[in-house]
Structures are given as C-alpha cells and as structure tokens.
C-alpha cells in the first residue's frame, strides 16, 4: 500500500499529472454532444416537416371553411351546403 502511494506520488511529480483542466475538457465534450443532439433534433424536425404540418393541416380545413363554409378539406369530401339534399314540408 505504501509502495503504491509512493509510485503515484512519483508519477504525479514526474509527468505533472493533476486534475486541472478536467472541467474544461468535460465542458467541451458536453458542448459537442449537446450541439450534436440539438442539430439532430433540428434535422429531424425539418425532415418530418413539423412546422409545415402546423400550418398546412389546419389550412386545408380552413380553406374549406373559406370556400364553402364547411370545416373540412374540399379535396377530401368537404361539400358545399348547397349540395345537401333538402326536404321541404309545406304547411297544409
């Protein structure tokens, strides 16, 4: 046990081994990892077109509302109310 401590002390003195700079190294590594994760998420959001869907999916319904007053995509069966079959009951 004593000999091991002696060896460690020798190595520290001989090769100037200490823990100074460890925080800096770890900060750099963490920064690289975080930036990598950030860009991976960013790329994933771009590829999955999340922002486009935020606008385009409601837009399709809103365009149906603007076109014919029906909150539904006109291309997917949203019909103008004029096309509804109506019935009239005349008063006797």
């Amino acid at each position: 046990m004593e000999s091991r401590k002696t060896v460690n002390k020798f190595l520290i003195q001989k090769f100037n081994l200490n823990s100074r700079g460890q925080v800096l190294i770890e900060t750099m590594l963490l920064t690289v990892v975080l930036i990598g994760v950030f860009f991976a998420i960013s790329q994933s959001l771009k590829e999955s077109r999340v922002v486009q869907k935020i606008v385009s999916e409601p837009w399709d319904k809103v365009s149906g509302l603007a076109e014919s007053g029906v909150y539904s995509d006109p291309q997917r069966g949203g019909k103008h109310p004029n096309s509804y079959e109506r019935f009239m009951t005349p008063e006797n």
């Binding site: 925080v23 959001l45 385009s56 603007a66």
Partner: protein, 212 residues
C-alpha cells in the same frame, strides 16, 4: 469555490434569451400570418358576395349582368376606386388575380354543380355565381432550426359567392313568348284569334303582367 472562466455562468441568460427569442418570434410570426390571412379571407368573401350580388341583379341582357359582375370585381383592384383594398390585394403577402374571376350564370349551361358534387338528378338548384382564388404567400416562411412552412402547392383557397341570378329582361321576354306560344297552341281557336285575319288585329292584343 472560486469561479474560473470555465465555470462562470455570466452571459448564460443572454444566450438563452436570444435562442428562445428566435424560436418565440418565429411562432409569433406564424400566428400573425395566420390571423392576418383569416382577416384577408373575410375581405375576399365580401368581394365575392359583392361581385355575385352585382351579377345577380336583373338587367336588360345576360351579357350585361355578367359585365356588371366583372366590373364590380375589377373595381376592387382599381387604386382610384378602392385605394385600401387594392393595396391589400396586390402585395407579397396575399394575392388575388384580378383576371381570376370565374363567373357562371347558369343560363348558358355553366354552373358550379360539378365542382361541388351537386346531384343533378335530384333537381337541386344550380350553384351559380362567382368564384376566384386567393393565395397567401405570407404563410410560407422559415423558422430557424425547425424548418419551413412552405409546401409545393402553396396556400390557396377558392372564395365563392353563390347567389341565384334574377332573369334578365331578355330572358323574361323569351320565356313569356314561349309560354304565350304554348297557350296559343292549346286550341286552334286561340291561334285563329291571335293570327288570323277574320278577327280584326285591333280587337285582340295580348297583354301579360309579366314584369319583364
């Protein structure tokens, strides 16, 4: 613990603020674009209704009714007549083409029944009036880090104004003449009264309260 350059956190909030501001302002821009688009759509619906109303009102001929509708639509793009609207419709945020008016009057066999799935076998009233397209390039923009809202087909919508058109005087007279001729053909005596020389022309004059 004494803070070194590596462990100091001064400025961290500034970076965080800048980053969140970029994302936040992107989302705010999105909301502004959406709400302003809805407002312009409402204006465009007024234009459609106004145009359809001008087209629907009775006039001497069908061509003149169509002309009234077209003139009304074009007046929205005229800076001297509509300085506010014309500027709203001719910028890079919203676009309505002044030549995009699709006006179908029904009488010439053109209506919007096919476009809106009207089953003509059920004798529904024809969809007649006006339709035009509005596009909103304002909805196409990039938000940093998360992508663009643009899509291939763009953001377009049809605006419709369907108002049943009053018959023109010309159509009314033609219809009344056809009706009159049909009555005359009901009985040979009617025809003789109307056309033959044994009844003095001055003693018979058809007079119909037809409102033409």
């Amino acid at each position: 613990m004494k803070k070194t350059r590596a462990t100091r956190s001064a400025g961290f909030t500034s970076v965080d603020f800048l980053f969140s501001m970029v994302l936040g302002s992107g989302l705010v821009l999105l909301l502004v674009a959406l709400t302003s688009t809805l407002s312009i759509i409402q204006v465009a619906q007024y234009m459609a209704f106004s145009t359809a109303r001008a087209h629907a009102a009775g006039h001497e001929t069908l061509a003149q009714q169509k002309d009234l509708g077209t003139q009304k639509f074009k007046s929205f793009f005229d800076r001297s007549k509509n300085p506010v609207l014309s500027n709203l419709l001719s910028n890079e945020w919203f676009k309505i083409d002044s030549n995009s008016l699709d006006l179908r009057s029904g009488a010439d066999g053109k209506d919007f029944n096919a476009e809106y799935g009207v089953d003509e076998s059920k004798k529904a009233l024809p969809n007649i009036g006006v339709r035009f397209q509005i596009s909103a390039p304002v909805l196409e923009f990039k938000i940093p880090f998360v992508g663009s809202t643009a899509r291939d087909q763009g953001y377009k919508s049809f605006i419709t104004g369907f108002i049943f058109r009053e018959p023109s005087s010309e159509e009314c007279r033609l219809q009344m003449k056809a009706r009159y001729d049909a009555i005359i053909r009901l009985d040979s005596r009617f025809g003789r009264i109307a056309t033959e020389s044994d009844v003095k022309p001055s003693s018979y004059m058809p007079m119909e309260d037809n409102g033409c």
